[in-house]
């Protein structure tokens, strides 16, 4: 099957029921996407498909229609996405394992809604679990990124 990932076309030979997560991690060596639960409960595997946040552990690669973006495609240390920049400024990460997924969710949220309310942030981001408890900083970083987005847009 053919997949478009981070702007690049990839061909993989896998079973129809292999979740996208494992195609990314084990077949294509894209390791920023994390395995956490396998049942769409933790959000560590969040990627974008045509800009929408999707749990890659719970979608079959063969069902994907659209362009896949992973954390590696969102930005990199030399060219940070505005959400990644906010995550660094607020030093959100502890163990950091969930943060790829948190950042992908936050980026998708801000893409849909550039100025989310506290409640909208809480609801949207509750799909992503953090066991270290970085939630207060996640809230701050999202608000910071949102204000920078609106300043940039103004």
């Amino acid at each position: 099957m053919r997949l478009t990932i981070n702007g690049k076309s990839e061909t993989v030979d896998v079973e129809d029921d292999m979740p996208l997560l494992w195609v990314l991690r084990d077949e294509l060596d894209i390791k920023g996407v994390k395995y956490g639960c396998g049942i769409a409960q933790c959000g560590a595997c969040t990627v974008h498909i045509d800009g929408v946040a999707v749990r890659s552990c719970a979608i079959r690669a063969s069902d994907v229609e659209g362009e896949i973006t992973t954390i590696e495609g969102l930005g990199n240390p030399d060219a940070l996405h505005i959400v990644q920049k906010a995550w660094i400024d607020h030093q959100v990460a502890q163990c950091g394992y969930c943060q790829s997924g948190q950042i992908m969710s936050a980026a998708a949220l801000l893409d849909q809604n550039a100025n989310p309310s506290d409640e909208e942030i809480d609801n949207y981001m509750s799909a992503n679990l953090c066991r270290c408890g970085t939630y207060p900083r996640i809230r701050e970083a999202i608000k910071d990124a949102a204000s920078k987005l609106s300043a940039g847009a103004a």
């Binding site: 502890q94 163990c95 207060p136």
Partner: protein, 747 residues
């Protein structure tokens, strides 16, 4: 040259790479020190003879042997060394190094000494030094017990200072300028004429010089890094998905593995049928292991899928199959023959209760809880006839090395444990079953590296949870004051269960049974704590804050009820009873932060709790609202006494994370057993806290204490009782059992 060669040869002690044209400070002095307990109490400066700084042509590497579990300890350790070494944090690499007895953890043993952490008497201190010497002798390199800061605070600054002074001596030799005219900055020795020599170019000369041990540590007002907000060294990588964790590691030619082990922990495998699984795509081999099987495949998911296709006949659990029997065992354990310790017995408790019935009496329960860090357990193993390489995230690299040596028949010197970045632990990686299994699998295909990854379900099924515990409390009040408090706690021994799996017997009472209760610095006239060691039940392990995670809840909820019975104010009475000044100050701080006593309005309540654990005093005030949809936690105010904050951002993050950990599990989580198996299998039924439940949290650090303390665990114990006490204030309902959602709804 001969001396350089000697140093190079001995640098195996700190790493797998020999240093060409470089220097590893102090490594060669190692033999004289940790092996002889009589030299344990070294004179000032001498303790700096430690293998923490390595300089070679590729640059400066700081060895940070305490594993970074997410708590930021690599950054913290690097800051301490860099402070004295005069290097910037962006100039250095950090490396956990290879396990070595030189990296023993002495602070870990302080919890085991029979003196309260608030006791700084000569007897207490000299006993601690004696136990420290024993720890040094055993060479236990463990990350845990909130010890990384107290263990490193002096040692790593001394290591940095010795390296700096030795580099200055090298520069003096090179330039002919006397040492006292040399200065150091940003990885360079500055000469009076404005020229400079880099540490890297000086390293080969420094390697020929006896390390300068006569050093003086800088006073805090000279610090550039310690106590300042710095960018954590891994923060960019962790914000861009570019940091490789253990689970991400790939070795050349690697294959993937999954296991299925009897979900009745420790139960046998009677038989299995892998016929269907063996036919599945990508499956290379299915082999029996102790109590289960392993699948070797060409992809993690295929290995998981095939493991799920194997059918089993599992043996029975070696502990009671149903939960009721676990609680019954605890309830039956409050007997004289099971008494483990009575480490506090002030006043005349027996006489007080002989005079009349208690004013308050209650039982409390704390369930099993799982660790479940977000990164599932994994280990990569490659075994040949000559060596074993293990890549994994672990808190116990020394145990891992000796266990791998035993399992392979290799010597410890032939075993290389590469400690990788860890996606959380909370005590989970104090166990090494995953490594033992990876080694068995790798032995079946020698020469090929295998990566064993646990599925989340396998990880849940084999998580050794937090101890189950029960408490009985009673007390009396007099003239509106707390007069008598008698607390009895029963639990199985965490230390016996955990260290038993390492064949490492720990004699005597288990300090965890009363941790977080016996050492609370309250001057209650009649005050007794008694620990009962329940028979072993399900296997258990250290869970963030260990004994204090249940006992802080028991002690402080019972105290709150007693204060209520006295008709006193919960905060004021605690402050009145508190004899230990630094602890009293944390209570006063949360009073001020929360504006204690002010009117919160209808349906709202405020609760306070305090717990001294791991030597760190923490107080928390929680404000809740009783809404139509359940309890909503609005605000948490936390003050913690740590002596000195090394890394303020990490400190703030760890306190907030500890509060969330404590609250989320107290509200929502338990592990229960049915038919001998844990009934919770993934985050849908054991989720901790999600963002929508997270309160606003305000943190204050206090630095009044004499000693420098850790902060990874101490914010956890007061969280549950502060919430229970706040719920009482808002609703009039006392909750005496975790998880609270069995008794009340949360928003």
């Amino acid at each position: 040259m001969s001396k350089l060669k000697t140093i190079t040869r001995r640098t195996f002690l700190i790493g797998s790479t020999a240093i060409a044209g470089g220097v590893a400070f102090g490594a060669y002095m190692y033999k004289r020190d940790p092996l002889n307990p009589l030299t344990a109490n070294l004179k000032e400066g001498e303790a700096a003879i430690t293998p923490y700084v390595k300089i070679d042509a590729s640059g400066i590497t700081l060895i940070t042997p305490r594993t970074d579990l997410g708590q930021g300890t690599y950054s913290m350790q690097a800051m301490l060394i860099a402070e004295e070494l005069d290097v910037e944090l962006d100039q250095i690499k950090v490396d956990p190094g290879m396990p070595d007895p030189a990296y023993y953890n002495t602070a870990l043993s302080d919890e085991g000494a029979p003196f309260r952490p608030t006791d700084d008497s000569f007897a207490a201190e000299s006993t601690r030094s004696f136990v420290d010497a024993a720890m040094k002798f055993l060479g236990l390199q463990i990350t845990g017990g909130s010890t990384s800061v107290p263990d490193s605070y002096e040692k790593l600054r001394q290591a940095g200072a010795v390296a700096r002074e030795t580099l200055k001596a090298a520069a003096s030799q090179q330039s002919g300028v006397s040492i006292d005219r040399l200065k150091t900055e940003k990885g360079m020795v500055q000469l009076p004429d404005g020229a400079s020599l880099s540490y890297v170019e000086l390293a080969p000369i420094a390697a020929t010089i006896e390390p300068i041990k006569d050093i003086e540590l800088r006073s805090p007002n000279q610090w550039r890094l310690i106590g300042k907000k710095v960018l954590r060294h891994d923060i960019i990588a962790k914000s861009t998905g570019t940091l490789p964790y253990g689970i991400d590691f790939e070795a050349e030619g690697m294959v993937y593995a999954a296991v299925k082990i009897n979900p009745r922990q420790g139960g046998a495998m009677n038989s299995y049928d892998a016929t269907e699984a063996e036919k599945m795509r990508g499956v290379q081999k299915i082999i029996p292991l102790k109590n289960g099987i392993a699948v070797i495949a060409d992809n993690t998911w295929r290995a998981f899928k095939a493991a799920n296709a194997v059918t089993f006949d599992w043996g029975q659990a070696p502990y009671p199959a149903e939960m009721d029997a676990h609680w019954q065992t605890l309830s039956d354990s409050f007997t004289p023959d099971l008494q483990d310790s009575r480490t506090r017995d002030d006043g005349e408790i027996d006489n007080v209760f002989a005079e009349g019935p208690p004013d308050f009496e209650a039982d409390y329960r704390a369930p099993y809880v799982a660790h479940q860090p977000l990164e599932p357990l994994s280990a990569i193993a490659k075994i040949t006839d000559e060596r074993a390489d293990i890549w994994t995230g672990t808190q116990i690299p020394g145990f891992v090395r000796s266990n791998v040596a035993k399992a392979t028949g290799l010597t410890e010197e032939q075993v290389f444990v590469h400690v990788l970045y860890v996606g959380g632990s909370f005590g989970h990686r104090l166990e090494d079953d995953v490594v033992k299994q990876a080694v068995e699998i790798a032995k079946s295909i020698k020469g090929t590296p295998i990566k064993l990854t646990y599925s989340r379900e396998e990880d849940f099924a084999h998580d050794y949870p937090r101890q189950i515990a029960m408490a009985r409390a009673k007390g009396k009040v007099k003239n509106g004051k707390v007069d008598s408090f008698d607390l009895s706690i029963a639990m199985p021994s965490v230390i016996a269960s955990q260290m038993g799996r390492q064949n490492f017997p720990v004699p005597g009472p288990d300090p965890a049974i009363l941790a977080g209760a016996w050492e609370q610095p309250y001057a209650i006239p009649n005050y007794r704590t008694t620990g009962y060691r329940a028979p072993e039940l399900a296997p258990i392990s250290s869970w963030r804050s260990v004994g204090a995670s249940s006992n802080g809840f028991f002690h402080d909820c019972a105290l709150d009820e007693l204060i209520h019975a006295a008709g006193a104010d919960p905060l004021e009475e605690r402050i009145r009873l508190m004899w230990h000044e630094p602890s009293r100050k944390v209570l006063e701080a949360v009073g001020e932060m929360s504006n204690w006593g002010s009117d919160l309005g209808e349906n709202r309540g405020r609760g306070v709790a305090f717990c001294l654990s791991f030597g760190t005093a923490v107080a928390e005030v929680i404000e809740v609202t009783n809404t139509e949809n359940g309890i909503k936690i609005d605000n948490v105010y936390v003050a913690a006494e740590v002596g000195k904050v090394i890394d303020p951002i990490n400190f703030d993050n760890l306190v907030k994370g500890g509060v969330i950990w404590g609250l989320g599990h107290a509200m929502n989580c338990q592990i229960t057993y049915a038919d001998g198996m844990a009934q919770q299998s993934n985050f849908h039924d054991h989720e901790g806290m999600r963002l929508y439940q997270c309160p606003n949290i305000e943190v204050r650090a206090l630095e009044n204490g004499v000693k420098v303390r850790g902060i990874g665990e101490p914010p956890v114990p007061p969280a549950a009782p502060a919430l229970a006490n706040a719920i009482f204030a808002a609703t009039g309902k006392r909750i005496r059992e975790m998880p609270f959602n069995k008794h009340i709804d949360f928003v």
